[in-house]
Symmetry: C2
Subunit: 190 residues, 2 copies
């Protein structure tokens, strides 16, 4: 998605060779009009699938999922939680996800009642790096005996291997921008 690449180059801030921050339009401040274009592009790429649920993970995935839902005729958006608030009392599906950026392991959870057997699920997330969060979401879907129709990432960091891992596992992955390398502040796309 050319407009996305341009926006990453224009507004992204690189940190070392592994991180590009897009806090200005995706991870802290959200450019909602642009997210609407992101949603349109996900529909274009997944034009052939039917979707019963969109699954994402808090927090940055939520805006993306909400702006994409209208293009799939408003399926419910379910966001997996990284913590368990005391008001969340039902049974969950749960899967471990390591964050390489934060150096932590968290369990992401979805209440059982929001993923049903047979649901056709589109998984969306902001970044795909090592693929831990996306892989954990596919695990939640599997536990529910639902079906992953596809995985959509706004930005894939191709050099961190998560995309390859998901494709090798047989998932259909669409990344709107794939970064091949970050060197001296310069971003190279695949």
């Amino acid at each position: 998605m050319e407009a996305l690449k341009q926006k990453i180059i224009r507004e992204g801030q690189t940190v070392g060779t592994g991180i590009v921050k897009v806090d200005g339009f995706l991870n802290h401040q959200i450019d909602v009009k642009f997210m609407n274009e992101i949603g349109r592009e996900f529909r274009r790429r997944f034009s052939d699938i039917e979707v019963d649920k969109i699954l994402t993970v808090e927090a940055s995935g939520i805006g993306i999922a909400c702006m994409t839902a209208p293009y799939f005729d408003y399926p419910p958006v379910v966001f997996a939680k990284k913590t368990t608030p005391s008001t969340m009392t039902e049974e969950f599906f749960g899967a471990e996800a390591k964050s390489f950026t934060k150096g932590t392991v968290s369990i992401i959870r979805v209440a059982r009642k929001y993923l049903s057997k047979g649901d056709r699920v589109l998984i969306l997330d902001d970044f795909l790096a090592h693929g831990e969060a996306a892989m954990a979401m596919t695990e939640l879907v599997k536990q529910a005996e639902a079906q992953v129709m596809g995985i959509g990432a706004v930005i894939e960091k191709g050099f961190q291997g998560g995309g390859q891992k998901l494709r090798d596992a047989g998932f259909r992955l669409e990344s709107l921008a794939v970064i091949e390398a970050i060197n001296d502040g310069e971003i190279t796309f695949a």
Copy 2:
């Protein structure tokens, strides 16, 4: 907002006398089409104000803010963070917010560059209970020397006093549904 009250009665789950869970359309699974109606209603109630930024707090506020932004001609949505990821290196505005539900105190933060002096800010959140999160957001706006144009809550729990506190402090508050009491599973609206 009558449709919201009906939805709370139909889909909300009460816990004791203080909590109503609306995980089915707001806090875990999101009914995006309904959130679009929420956004339209916020615009109707705040039809007379100009907004440069919409400020909310992760995670449940994000969907609401994103679906409201189009009705205000797409101002940037900024979501305050409850934790500091290692990639967030800039200077912040920060304010304490107590969570009565979780029994915790957290600091919510916004990077300085996303709230500017003079910004006209609309604060949105899912629940208004004791008003801690909303009050903390007004504090962030104050630190930025920006201006709170209004505060919008989807559900106000009137009996927990946050709404009164904000109104007493001079803020314009619009709550789309105000719950007066929760008794034996029955919800009474103001």
